[in-house]
Subunit: 300 residues, 2 copies
Amino acid sequence: MKIGIVGGGSIGLLFAYYLNKCFDTTIYTRTDRQAKIIGAKGLLFEKNRQQETVQIKAESFLNWNGEEDLTIVAVKQYHLEDVLAQIHERMNNKVSFLFLQNGMGHLKHINKLTAENIYIGSVENGAYRAGDRHVCHTGEGVNRVAVYIEKNRSLLHDFIKPLSSFFPFVMEKNCYEMLIKKLVVNAVINPLTAILRVPNGELLTNPYYREIFCALFKEISRILYLEDEQAYFQHVINVCQQTSKNRSSMLKDIEKNRKTEVDSILGYLLEEAKNKNIYAPLIHQYFTLIKGKEYREEGN
Amino acid sequence: MKIGIVGGGSIGLLFAYYLNKCFDTTIYTRTDRQAKIIGAKGLLFEKNRQQETVQIKAESFLNWNGEEDLTIVAVKQYHLEDVLAQIHERMNNKVSFLFLQNGMGHLKHINKLTAENIYIGSVENGAYRAGDRHVCHTGEGVNRVAVYIEKNRSLLHDFIKPLSSFFPFVMEKNCYEMLIKKLVVNAVINPLTAILRVPNGELLTNPYYREIFCALFKEISRILYLEDEQAYFQHVINVCQQTSKNRSSMLKDIEKNRKTEVDSILGYLLEEAKNKNIYAPLIHQYFTLIKGKEYREEGN
Protein backbone atom coordinates (compact mmCIF):
# COMPACT_ATOMS: atom_id res chain seq x y z
CA MET A 1 0.00 0.00 0.00
CA LYS A 2 1.23 3.46 -0.85
CA ILE A 3 0.68 6.27 1.64
CA GLY A 4 0.96 10.02 1.16
CA ILE A 5 1.17 12.37 4.11
CA VAL A 6 0.38 16.03 3.51
CA GLY A 7 1.98 18.32 6.10
CA GLY A 8 5.44 18.38 7.63
CA GLY A 9 4.42 19.50 11.11
CA SER A 10 4.68 17.43 14.27
CA ILE A 11 1.80 15.06 13.43
CA GLY A 12 2.83 14.68 9.77
CA LEU A 13 6.39 13.77 10.75
CA LEU A 14 5.21 11.45 13.54
CA PHE A 15 2.90 9.56 11.20
CA ALA A 16 5.60 9.43 8.51
CA TYR A 17 7.99 7.72 10.91
CA TYR A 18 5.56 4.99 12.02
CA LEU A 19 3.76 4.43 8.71
CA ASN A 20 7.04 4.15 6.82
CA LYS A 21 7.76 0.97 8.78
CA CYS A 22 4.94 -0.87 6.92
CA PHE A 23 4.09 1.16 3.85
CA ASP A 24 5.69 2.87 0.89
CA THR A 25 5.32 6.36 2.44
CA THR A 26 5.90 9.82 0.98
CA ILE A 27 5.67 13.02 3.01
CA TYR A 28 4.51 16.14 1.17
CA THR A 29 5.67 19.38 2.76
CA ARG A 30 4.54 22.95 2.18
CA THR A 31 8.06 24.18 1.49
CA ASP A 32 10.41 22.65 -1.03
CA ARG A 33 13.17 23.41 1.46
CA GLN A 34 11.82 21.06 4.13
CA ALA A 35 11.34 18.21 1.60
CA LYS A 36 14.96 18.62 0.45
CA ILE A 37 16.28 18.57 4.03
CA ILE A 38 14.33 15.40 4.88
CA GLY A 39 15.33 13.78 1.57
CA ALA A 40 19.01 14.55 2.07
CA LYS A 41 19.45 13.91 5.79
CA GLY A 42 16.54 11.61 6.63
CA LEU A 43 13.87 11.95 9.30
CA LEU A 44 15.20 12.26 12.85
CA PHE A 45 12.84 10.58 15.31
CA GLU A 46 13.18 10.96 19.07
CA LYS A 47 11.42 9.22 21.92
CA ASN A 48 12.50 8.96 25.56
CA ARG A 49 15.74 10.71 24.62
CA GLN A 50 16.63 7.95 22.12
CA GLN A 51 17.21 9.23 18.59
CA GLU A 52 16.93 7.36 15.29
CA THR A 53 17.37 8.58 11.72
CA VAL A 54 15.34 6.93 8.94
CA GLN A 55 15.27 7.46 5.20
CA ILE A 56 11.89 8.52 3.86
CA LYS A 57 10.61 9.92 0.58
CA ALA A 58 9.83 13.63 0.81
CA GLU A 59 8.36 15.92 -1.82
CA SER A 60 6.99 19.41 -2.08
CA PHE A 61 3.19 19.32 -1.84
CA LEU A 62 3.17 20.88 -5.32
CA ASN A 63 4.13 17.40 -6.58
CA TRP A 64 1.22 15.59 -4.94
CA ASN A 65 -1.04 14.04 -7.59
CA GLY A 66 -3.10 11.50 -5.66
CA GLU A 67 -1.17 8.45 -6.79
CA GLU A 68 -1.12 6.91 -3.29
CA ASP A 69 -3.84 4.55 -2.06
CA LEU A 70 -4.40 6.72 1.00
CA THR A 71 -3.55 10.37 1.53
CA ILE A 72 -3.35 11.51 5.14
CA VAL A 73 -3.98 15.23 5.54
CA ALA A 74 -2.09 16.42 8.62
CA VAL A 75 -2.12 20.20 8.18
CA LYS A 76 -3.59 22.62 10.68
CA GLN A 77 -7.24 23.53 10.25
CA TYR A 78 -6.32 27.05 9.14
CA HIS A 79 -4.29 25.69 6.20
CA LEU A 80 -6.91 23.16 5.16
CA GLU A 81 -8.87 25.33 2.73
CA ASP A 82 -5.74 26.12 0.72
CA VAL A 83 -4.64 22.50 0.71
CA LEU A 84 -8.07 21.24 -0.34
CA ALA A 85 -8.23 23.73 -3.20
CA GLN A 86 -5.00 22.29 -4.57
CA ILE A 87 -6.11 18.71 -3.93
CA HIS A 88 -9.28 19.36 -5.94
CA GLU A 89 -7.25 20.48 -8.93
CA ARG A 90 -5.00 17.45 -8.99
CA MET A 91 -7.03 14.54 -7.60
CA ASN A 92 -8.87 11.66 -9.27
CA ASN A 93 -12.00 10.01 -7.86
CA LYS A 94 -10.05 6.93 -6.78
CA VAL A 95 -8.26 8.82 -4.04
CA SER A 96 -8.89 8.02 -0.35
CA PHE A 97 -8.26 10.43 2.52
CA LEU A 98 -7.73 10.46 6.25
CA PHE A 99 -8.13 13.90 7.86
CA LEU A 100 -6.45 14.59 11.19
CA GLN A 101 -7.54 18.17 12.07
CA ASN A 102 -8.65 19.30 15.49
CA GLY A 103 -12.01 20.95 15.97
CA MET A 104 -15.06 20.47 13.77
CA GLY A 105 -14.66 23.17 11.15
CA HIS A 106 -13.02 20.83 8.63
CA LEU A 107 -16.15 18.71 8.20
CA LYS A 108 -17.88 21.40 6.16
CA HIS A 109 -14.92 21.61 3.76
CA ILE A 110 -14.56 17.84 3.42
CA ASN A 111 -18.24 17.65 2.50
CA LYS A 112 -17.43 18.90 -0.97
CA LEU A 113 -14.84 16.18 -1.75
CA THR A 114 -15.83 13.30 -4.04
CA ALA A 115 -13.38 10.61 -3.01
CA GLU A 116 -13.43 6.81 -2.83
CA ASN A 117 -13.10 6.81 0.96
CA ILE A 118 -12.91 9.58 3.51
CA TYR A 119 -11.89 8.86 7.08
CA ILE A 120 -11.72 11.24 9.99
CA GLY A 121 -9.08 10.81 12.65
CA SER A 122 -8.43 12.13 16.12
CA VAL A 123 -4.84 11.88 17.30
CA GLU A 124 -4.15 11.18 20.96
CA ASN A 125 -0.39 11.01 20.55
CA GLY A 126 1.63 13.97 21.70
CA ALA A 127 4.39 15.14 19.38
CA TYR A 128 6.63 18.12 19.04
CA ARG A 129 8.52 19.28 15.97
CA ALA A 130 12.02 20.20 17.13
CA GLY A 131 13.28 21.07 13.63
CA ASP A 132 12.50 20.68 9.93
CA ARG A 133 13.34 16.96 9.98
CA HIS A 134 13.23 16.31 13.74
CA VAL A 135 10.14 15.07 15.58
CA CYS A 136 9.83 14.06 19.25
CA HIS A 137 7.12 11.61 20.30
CA THR A 138 6.30 13.05 23.71
CA GLY A 139 3.05 11.36 24.66
CA GLU A 140 1.98 7.87 23.70
CA GLY A 141 -1.71 7.30 23.03
CA VAL A 142 -3.96 5.91 20.33
CA ASN A 143 -5.23 7.33 17.08
CA ARG A 144 -8.98 7.24 16.72
CA VAL A 145 -10.54 6.88 13.30
CA ALA A 146 -14.10 6.89 11.98
CA VAL A 147 -15.67 6.51 8.56
CA TYR A 148 -17.04 9.60 6.84
CA ILE A 149 -17.57 8.12 3.34
CA GLU A 150 -16.59 4.57 2.46
CA LYS A 151 -16.95 2.83 -0.91
CA ASN A 152 -14.12 0.34 -0.58
CA ARG A 153 -14.32 -1.37 2.79
CA SER A 154 -10.99 -3.20 2.77
CA LEU A 155 -8.71 -0.14 2.63
CA LEU A 156 -8.95 0.94 6.27
CA HIS A 157 -8.53 -2.63 7.50
CA ASP A 158 -5.39 -3.10 5.38
CA PHE A 159 -4.04 0.20 6.71
CA ILE A 160 -4.71 -0.34 10.40
CA LYS A 161 -3.77 -4.00 10.79
CA PRO A 162 0.01 -3.92 10.27
CA LEU A 163 0.34 -0.90 12.56
CA SER A 164 -1.60 -2.37 15.47
CA SER A 165 1.33 -3.52 17.60
CA PHE A 166 3.30 -0.25 17.64
CA PHE A 167 1.04 2.62 16.44
CA PRO A 168 -2.50 1.51 17.20
CA PHE A 169 -5.70 2.86 15.66
CA VAL A 170 -9.06 2.49 17.38
CA MET A 171 -12.19 2.38 15.22
CA GLU A 172 -14.98 4.71 16.31
CA LYS A 173 -18.54 4.41 15.10
CA ASN A 174 -19.47 8.06 14.95
CA CYS A 175 -17.01 10.63 13.65
CA TYR A 176 -19.06 13.52 15.02
CA GLU A 177 -19.02 12.15 18.57
CA MET A 178 -15.32 11.36 18.30
CA LEU A 179 -14.47 14.92 17.25
CA ILE A 180 -16.80 16.46 19.83
CA LYS A 181 -15.04 14.54 22.57
CA LYS A 182 -11.68 15.97 21.56
CA LEU A 183 -13.17 19.40 20.89
CA VAL A 184 -14.48 19.62 24.45
CA VAL A 185 -11.06 18.73 25.85
CA ASN A 186 -9.30 21.26 23.64
CA ALA A 187 -11.86 23.99 24.22
CA VAL A 188 -11.45 23.84 28.00
CA ILE A 189 -7.75 23.08 28.45
CA ASN A 190 -6.12 24.99 25.60
CA PRO A 191 -7.40 28.53 26.05
CA LEU A 192 -7.14 28.53 29.85
CA THR A 193 -3.58 27.19 29.93
CA ALA A 194 -2.58 29.61 27.14
CA ILE A 195 -3.94 32.68 28.95
CA LEU A 196 -2.77 31.62 32.40
CA ARG A 197 0.52 30.21 31.09
CA VAL A 198 0.34 27.14 33.31
CA PRO A 199 0.74 23.39 32.70
CA ASN A 200 -2.51 21.44 32.27
CA GLY A 201 -2.61 20.01 35.80
CA GLU A 202 -2.73 23.42 37.46
CA LEU A 203 -6.23 23.97 36.09
CA LEU A 204 -7.36 21.36 38.62
CA THR A 205 -5.02 21.93 41.58
CA ASN A 206 -5.64 25.68 41.80
CA PRO A 207 -9.19 26.03 43.20
CA TYR A 208 -9.81 29.35 41.40
CA TYR A 209 -8.67 28.01 38.04
CA ARG A 210 -10.75 24.89 38.65
CA GLU A 211 -13.82 27.07 39.15
CA ILE A 212 -13.21 28.70 35.77
CA PHE A 213 -12.52 25.28 34.23
CA CYS A 214 -15.96 24.09 35.40
CA ALA A 215 -17.77 27.24 34.28
CA LEU A 216 -16.19 27.09 30.83
CA PHE A 217 -17.05 23.40 30.49
CA LYS A 218 -20.69 24.13 31.37
CA GLU A 219 -20.94 26.82 28.73
CA ILE A 220 -19.47 24.46 26.12
CA SER A 221 -21.78 21.66 27.18
CA ARG A 222 -24.85 23.87 26.75
CA ILE A 223 -23.80 24.87 23.25
CA LEU A 224 -23.09 21.31 22.10
CA TYR A 225 -26.24 19.90 23.74
CA LEU A 226 -24.04 17.25 25.42
CA GLU A 227 -26.34 14.46 26.54
CA ASP A 228 -24.09 12.60 28.96
CA GLU A 229 -22.55 15.76 30.38
CA GLN A 230 -21.00 14.05 33.39
CA ALA A 231 -19.10 11.54 31.20
CA TYR A 232 -17.66 14.33 29.04
CA PHE A 233 -16.69 16.29 32.13
CA GLN A 234 -14.93 13.29 33.65
CA HIS A 235 -13.10 12.76 30.35
CA VAL A 236 -11.72 16.33 30.40
CA ILE A 237 -10.67 15.85 34.02
CA ASN A 238 -8.92 12.59 33.13
CA VAL A 239 -7.02 14.11 30.21
CA CYS A 240 -6.00 17.04 32.41
CA GLN A 241 -4.68 14.69 35.08
CA GLN A 242 -2.94 12.37 32.65
CA THR A 243 -1.19 15.32 30.99
CA SER A 244 -0.77 17.37 34.16
CA LYS A 245 2.83 18.35 33.48
CA ASN A 246 2.33 19.07 29.77
CA ARG A 247 2.06 22.52 28.32
CA SER A 248 -0.87 22.56 25.90
CA SER A 249 -0.38 23.09 22.18
CA MET A 250 -2.09 26.48 22.37
CA LEU A 251 0.20 27.60 25.20
CA LYS A 252 3.22 26.49 23.13
CA ASP A 253 1.87 28.33 20.08
CA ILE A 254 1.45 31.52 22.13
CA GLU A 255 4.91 31.17 23.67
CA LYS A 256 6.49 30.65 20.25
CA ASN A 257 4.56 33.49 18.57
CA ARG A 258 2.70 31.08 16.30
CA LYS A 259 -0.87 31.21 15.10
CA THR A 260 -3.11 29.08 17.32
CA GLU A 261 -6.02 26.78 16.46
CA VAL A 262 -8.48 28.98 18.35
CA ASP A 263 -10.66 29.56 15.27
CA SER A 264 -11.38 25.87 14.84
CA ILE A 265 -11.95 25.33 18.55
CA LEU A 266 -13.56 28.34 20.27
CA GLY A 267 -14.41 29.97 16.93
CA TYR A 268 -16.46 26.90 15.98
CA LEU A 269 -18.26 26.98 19.34
CA LEU A 270 -19.04 30.69 18.98
CA GLU A 271 -20.59 30.03 15.57
CA GLU A 272 -22.65 27.20 17.04
CA ALA A 273 -23.72 29.46 19.92
CA LYS A 274 -24.79 32.12 17.43
CA ASN A 275 -26.75 29.65 15.29
CA LYS A 276 -28.47 28.25 18.36
CA ASN A 277 -28.95 31.69 19.91
CA ILE A 278 -27.10 30.73 23.12
CA TYR A 279 -25.31 33.35 25.22
CA ALA A 280 -21.63 32.39 25.62
CA PRO A 281 -19.78 35.13 27.52
CA LEU A 282 -16.82 33.02 28.65
CA ILE A 283 -16.12 31.43 25.29
CA HIS A 284 -16.37 34.84 23.68
CA GLN A 285 -14.01 36.24 26.30
CA TYR A 286 -11.31 33.58 25.90
CA PHE A 287 -11.64 33.65 22.12
CA THR A 288 -11.00 37.40 22.15
CA LEU A 289 -8.10 37.11 24.61
CA ILE A 290 -6.37 34.53 22.39
CA LYS A 291 -7.03 36.57 19.24
CA GLY A 292 -5.47 39.52 21.04
CA LYS A 293 -2.37 37.45 21.84
CA GLU A 294 -2.15 36.37 18.19
CA TYR A 295 -2.54 39.97 17.02
CA ARG A 296 0.36 40.90 19.28
CA GLU A 297 2.51 38.10 17.98
CA GLU A 298 1.92 39.14 14.42
CA GLY A 299 4.20 42.03 15.31
CA ASN A 300 1.55 44.65 16.08
CA MET B 1 1.11 71.37 62.30
CA LYS B 2 2.13 67.84 63.20
CA ILE B 3 1.47 65.08 60.68
CA GLY B 4 1.56 61.33 61.18
CA ILE B 5 1.71 58.98 58.21
CA VAL B 6 0.72 55.36 58.81
CA GLY B 7 2.28 52.99 56.27
CA GLY B 8 5.78 52.75 54.81
CA GLY B 9 4.77 51.68 51.30
CA SER B 10 5.22 53.73 48.15
CA ILE B 11 2.45 56.25 48.92
CA GLY B 12 3.39 56.57 52.59
CA LEU B 13 7.03 57.31 51.73
CA LEU B 14 6.05 59.68 48.91
CA PHE B 15 3.77 61.70 51.20
CA ALA B 16 6.41 61.68 53.96
CA TYR B 17 8.95 63.26 51.61
CA TYR B 18 6.70 66.10 50.44
CA LEU B 19 4.86 66.77 53.70
CA ASN B 20 8.10 66.87 55.67
CA LYS B 21 9.02 70.03 53.75
CA CYS B 22 6.25 71.98 55.53
CA PHE B 23 5.21 70.03 58.60
CA ASP B 24 6.64 68.19 61.56
CA THR B 25 6.13 64.77 60.05
CA THR B 26 6.49 61.27 61.50
CA ILE B 27 6.16 58.10 59.45
CA TYR B 28 4.79 55.05 61.26
CA THR B 29 5.81 51.75 59.69
CA ARG B 30 4.47 48.24 60.24
CA THR B 31 7.91 46.82 61.04
CA ASP B 32 10.27 48.22 63.61
CA ARG B 33 13.05 47.32 61.17
CA GLN B 34 11.91 49.74 58.48
CA ALA B 35 11.50 52.58 60.99
CA LYS B 36 15.04 52.00 62.25
CA ILE B 37 16.49 51.99 58.71
CA ILE B 38 14.72 55.26 57.82
CA GLY B 39 15.70 56.80 61.16
CA ALA B 40 19.35 55.85 60.75
CA LYS B 41 19.94 56.49 57.05
CA GLY B 42 17.18 58.91 56.12
CA LEU B 43 14.56 58.71 53.39
CA LEU B 44 15.98 58.35 49.87
CA PHE B 45 13.76 60.15 47.38
CA GLU B 46 14.19 59.77 43.61
CA LYS B 47 12.60 61.60 40.72
CA ASN B 48 13.79 61.80 37.10
CA ARG B 49 16.90 59.87 38.13
CA GLN B 50 17.84 62.58 40.67
CA GLN B 51 18.27 61.27 44.20
CA GLU B 52 18.00 63.14 47.49
CA THR B 53 18.30 61.91 51.07
CA VAL B 54 16.27 63.65 53.78
CA GLN B 55 16.08 63.15 57.53
CA ILE B 56 12.62 62.24 58.76
CA LYS B 57 11.18 60.91 62.00
CA ALA B 58 10.21 57.25 61.76
CA GLU B 59 8.55 55.05 64.35
CA SER B 60 7.01 51.63 64.57
CA PHE B 61 3.22 51.91 64.21
CA LEU B 62 3.02 50.35 67.69
CA ASN B 63 4.13 53.77 68.98
CA TRP B 64 1.35 55.73 67.26
CA ASN B 65 -0.88 57.42 69.83
CA GLY B 66 -2.76 60.05 67.86
CA GLU B 67 -0.69 63.00 69.08
CA GLU B 68 -0.48 64.54 65.56
CA ASP B 69 -3.04 67.04 64.26
CA LEU B 70 -3.63 64.91 61.18
CA THR B 71 -2.95 61.20 60.67
CA ILE B 72 -2.71 60.07 57.06
CA VAL B 73 -3.52 56.38 56.65
CA ALA B 74 -1.63 55.08 53.61
CA VAL B 75 -1.88 51.31 54.06
CA LYS B 76 -3.41 48.96 51.50
CA GLN B 77 -7.11 48.26 51.83
CA TYR B 78 -6.43 44.69 52.97
CA HIS B 79 -4.39 45.95 55.95
CA LEU B 80 -6.90 48.61 56.93
CA GLU B 81 -9.04 46.56 59.30
CA ASP B 82 -6.01 45.60 61.40
CA VAL B 83 -4.72 49.15 61.44
CA LEU B 84 -8.11 50.59 62.41
CA ALA B 85 -8.47 48.11 65.27
CA GLN B 86 -5.21 49.40 66.72
CA ILE B 87 -6.11 53.02 66.06
CA HIS B 88 -9.36 52.52 67.98
CA GLU B 89 -7.46 51.31 71.01
CA ARG B 90 -5.05 54.22 71.12
CA MET B 91 -6.90 57.22 69.70
CA ASN B 92 -8.61 60.19 71.30
CA ASN B 93 -11.60 62.03 69.82
CA LYS B 94 -9.47 64.99 68.81
CA VAL B 95 -7.72 63.01 66.11
CA SER B 96 -8.21 63.83 62.41
CA PHE B 97 -7.63 61.39 59.56
CA LEU B 98 -7.01 61.34 55.83
CA PHE B 99 -7.54 57.92 54.22
CA LEU B 100 -5.83 57.14 50.92
CA GLN B 101 -7.09 53.64 50.01
CA ASN B 102 -8.15 52.53 46.55
CA GLY B 103 -11.59 51.07 45.97
CA MET B 104 -14.67 51.71 48.09
CA GLY B 105 -14.48 49.00 50.73
CA HIS B 106 -12.79 51.24 53.30
CA LEU B 107 -15.81 53.54 53.64
CA LYS B 108 -17.73 50.95 55.64
CA HIS B 109 -14.84 50.59 58.12
CA ILE B 110 -14.29 54.33 58.47
CA ASN B 111 -17.97 54.71 59.28
CA LYS B 112 -17.32 53.45 62.78
CA LEU B 113 -14.64 56.01 63.62
CA THR B 114 -15.51 58.92 65.90
CA ALA B 115 -12.90 61.48 64.96
CA GLU B 116 -12.74 65.28 64.77
CA ASN B 117 -12.30 65.29 60.99
CA ILE B 118 -12.19 62.50 58.44
CA TYR B 119 -11.05 63.16 54.88
CA ILE B 120 -10.93 60.78 51.97
CA GLY B 121 -8.20 61.07 49.39
CA SER B 122 -7.53 59.71 45.94
CA VAL B 123 -3.90 59.78 44.85
CA GLU B 124 -3.08 60.42 41.21
CA ASN B 125 0.66 60.40 41.75
CA GLY B 126 2.57 57.35 40.66
CA ALA B 127 5.21 56.04 43.05
CA TYR B 128 7.29 52.97 43.44
CA ARG B 129 9.00 51.68 46.57
CA ALA B 130 12.47 50.57 45.49
CA GLY B 131 13.61 49.67 49.04
CA ASP B 132 12.75 50.11 52.72
CA ARG B 133 13.78 53.76 52.68
CA HIS B 134 13.82 54.42 48.93
CA VAL B 135 10.85 55.79 46.99
CA CYS B 136 10.68 56.83 43.34
CA HIS B 137 8.14 59.42 42.21
CA THR B 138 7.34 58.02 38.77
CA GLY B 139 4.22 59.89 37.74
CA GLU B 140 3.30 63.42 38.66
CA GLY B 141 -0.37 64.16 39.26
CA VAL B 142 -2.62 65.68 41.86
CA ASN B 143 -4.07 64.34 45.09
CA ARG B 144 -7.81 64.65 45.34
CA VAL B 145 -9.43 65.08 48.70
CA ALA B 146 -13.03 65.24 49.93
CA VAL B 147 -14.66 65.70 53.31
CA TYR B 148 -16.22 62.69 54.99
CA ILE B 149 -16.77 64.19 58.46
CA GLU B 150 -15.62 67.68 59.39
CA LYS B 151 -15.99 69.41 62.74
CA ASN B 152 -13.02 71.76 62.48
CA ARG B 153 -13.04 73.49 59.10
CA SER B 154 -9.62 75.14 59.25
CA LEU B 155 -7.53 71.98 59.43
CA LEU B 156 -7.71 70.93 55.79
CA HIS B 157 -7.07 74.46 54.57
CA ASP B 158 -3.99 74.76 56.79
CA PHE B 159 -2.77 71.41 55.51
CA ILE B 160 -3.29 71.95 51.78
CA LYS B 161 -2.16 75.56 51.43
CA PRO B 162 1.59 75.30 52.07
CA LEU B 163 1.82 72.27 49.76
CA SER B 164 0.05 73.84 46.79
CA SER B 165 3.11 74.83 44.76
CA PHE B 166 4.88 71.45 44.76
CA PHE B 167 2.45 68.71 45.90
CA PRO B 168 -1.01 70.02 45.05
CA PHE B 169 -4.32 68.83 46.50
CA VAL B 170 -7.60 69.37 44.68
CA MET B 171 -10.80 69.65 46.74
CA GLU B 172 -13.66 67.45 45.55
CA LYS B 173 -17.24 67.94 46.67
CA ASN B 174 -18.35 64.34 46.81
CA CYS B 175 -16.08 61.65 48.17
CA TYR B 176 -18.25 58.88 46.75
CA GLU B 177 -18.02 60.24 43.19
CA MET B 178 -14.29 60.84 43.59
CA LEU B 179 -13.67 57.24 44.65
CA ILE B 180 -16.01 55.82 42.00
CA LYS B 181 -14.08 57.65 39.30
CA LYS B 182 -10.84 56.04 40.41
CA LEU B 183 -12.53 52.68 41.03
CA VAL B 184 -13.76 52.54 37.43
CA VAL B 185 -10.24 53.25 36.14
CA ASN B 186 -8.69 50.63 38.41
CA ALA B 187 -11.38 48.02 37.73
CA VAL B 188 -10.85 48.17 33.97
CA ILE B 189 -7.11 48.71 33.64
CA ASN B 190 -5.67 46.72 36.54
CA PRO B 191 -7.14 43.23 36.04
CA LEU B 192 -6.76 43.24 32.25
CA THR B 193 -3.15 44.37 32.29
CA ALA B 194 -2.35 41.91 35.09
CA ILE B 195 -3.82 38.91 33.26
CA LEU B 196 -2.49 39.89 29.83
CA ARG B 197 0.83 41.13 31.25
CA VAL B 198 0.89 44.19 29.04
CA PRO B 199 1.49 47.92 29.65
CA ASN B 200 -1.66 50.05 29.97
CA GLY B 201 -1.58 51.46 26.45
CA GLU B 202 -1.84 48.07 24.77
CA LEU B 203 -5.40 47.73 26.04
CA LEU B 204 -6.30 50.40 23.48
CA THR B 205 -3.92 49.68 20.60
CA ASN B 206 -4.74 45.97 20.36
CA PRO B 207 -8.26 45.81 18.86
CA TYR B 208 -9.12 42.54 20.63
CA TYR B 209 -8.00 43.83 24.03
CA ARG B 210 -9.89 47.06 23.35
CA GLU B 211 -13.06 45.05 22.74
CA ILE B 212 -12.65 43.40 26.15
CA PHE B 213 -11.81 46.78 27.72
CA CYS B 214 -15.14 48.17 26.44
CA ALA B 215 -17.15 45.11 27.49
CA LEU B 216 -15.68 45.18 30.99
CA PHE B 217 -16.34 48.91 31.31
CA LYS B 218 -19.99 48.38 30.30
CA GLU B 219 -20.45 45.71 32.95
CA ILE B 220 -18.93 47.99 35.61
CA SER B 221 -21.06 50.91 34.47
CA ARG B 222 -24.27 48.88 34.81
CA ILE B 223 -23.36 47.83 38.34
CA LEU B 224 -22.49 51.34 39.51
CA TYR B 225 -25.52 52.92 37.78
CA LEU B 226 -23.12 55.44 36.19
CA GLU B 227 -25.20 58.34 35.01
CA ASP B 228 -22.82 60.07 32.64
CA GLU B 229 -21.41 56.82 31.27
CA GLN B 230 -19.65 58.46 28.31
CA ALA B 231 -17.71 60.85 30.56
CA TYR B 232 -16.48 57.99 32.77
CA PHE B 233 -15.52 55.97 29.70
CA GLN B 234 -13.56 58.88 28.24
CA HIS B 235 -11.82 59.31 31.59
CA VAL B 236 -10.63 55.68 31.58
CA ILE B 237 -9.44 56.07 27.98
CA ASN B 238 -7.55 59.25 28.92
CA VAL B 239 -5.82 57.63 31.90
CA CYS B 240 -4.89 54.63 29.73
CA GLN B 241 -3.37 56.90 27.10
CA GLN B 242 -1.58 59.14 29.59
CA THR B 243 -0.05 56.10 31.29
CA SER B 244 0.35 54.02 28.14
CA LYS B 245 3.88 52.85 28.93
CA ASN B 246 3.21 52.15 32.62
CA ARG B 247 2.72 48.70 34.08
CA SER B 248 -0.29 48.84 36.39
CA SER B 249 0.07 48.29 40.12
CA MET B 250 -1.82 45.00 39.88
CA LEU B 251 0.49 43.75 37.12
CA LYS B 252 3.49 44.70 39.27
CA ASP B 253 1.95 42.95 42.28
CA ILE B 254 1.41 39.77 40.22
CA GLU B 255 4.93 39.93 38.79
CA LYS B 256 6.43 40.36 42.25
CA ASN B 257 4.31 37.63 43.89
CA ARG B 258 2.53 40.15 46.09
CA LYS B 259 -1.07 40.23 47.18
CA THR B 260 -3.13 42.49 44.89
CA GLU B 261 -5.94 44.93 45.67
CA VAL B 262 -8.45 42.87 43.70
CA ASP B 263 -10.75 42.42 46.72
CA SER B 264 -11.29 46.14 47.14
CA ILE B 265 -11.71 46.70 43.39
CA LEU B 266 -13.44 43.79 41.62
CA GLY B 267 -14.48 42.20 44.94
CA TYR B 268 -16.39 45.38 45.84
CA LEU B 269 -18.09 45.41 42.43
CA LEU B 270 -19.08 41.76 42.77
CA GLU B 271 -20.69 42.50 46.11
CA GLU B 272 -22.55 45.43 44.59
CA ALA B 273 -23.67 43.23 41.68
CA LYS B 274 -24.95 40.64 44.12
CA ASN B 275 -26.83 43.21 46.20
CA LYS B 276 -28.40 44.71 43.09
CA ASN B 277 -28.99 41.31 41.51
CA ILE B 278 -27.01 42.15 38.37
CA TYR B 279 -25.29 39.43 36.31
CA ALA B 280 -21.56 40.18 36.02
CA PRO B 281 -19.82 37.35 34.17
CA LEU B 282 -16.70 39.30 33.14
CA ILE B 283 -16.01 40.85 36.52
CA HIS B 284 -16.52 37.45 38.12
CA GLN B 285 -14.16 35.92 35.58
CA TYR B 286 -11.33 38.42 36.07
CA PHE B 287 -11.77 38.39 39.83
CA THR B 288 -11.34 34.61 39.83
CA LEU B 289 -8.35 34.71 37.45
CA ILE B 290 -6.56 37.21 39.72
CA LYS B 291 -7.43 35.21 42.85
CA GLY B 292 -5.97 32.16 41.09
CA LYS B 293 -2.76 34.06 40.40
CA GLU B 294 -2.58 35.13 44.06
CA TYR B 295 -3.19 31.56 45.22
CA ARG B 296 -0.30 30.46 43.05
CA GLU B 297 1.95 33.14 44.44
CA GLU B 298 1.18 32.14 47.98
CA GLY B 299 3.32 29.11 47.16
CA ASN B 300 0.56 26.65 46.30
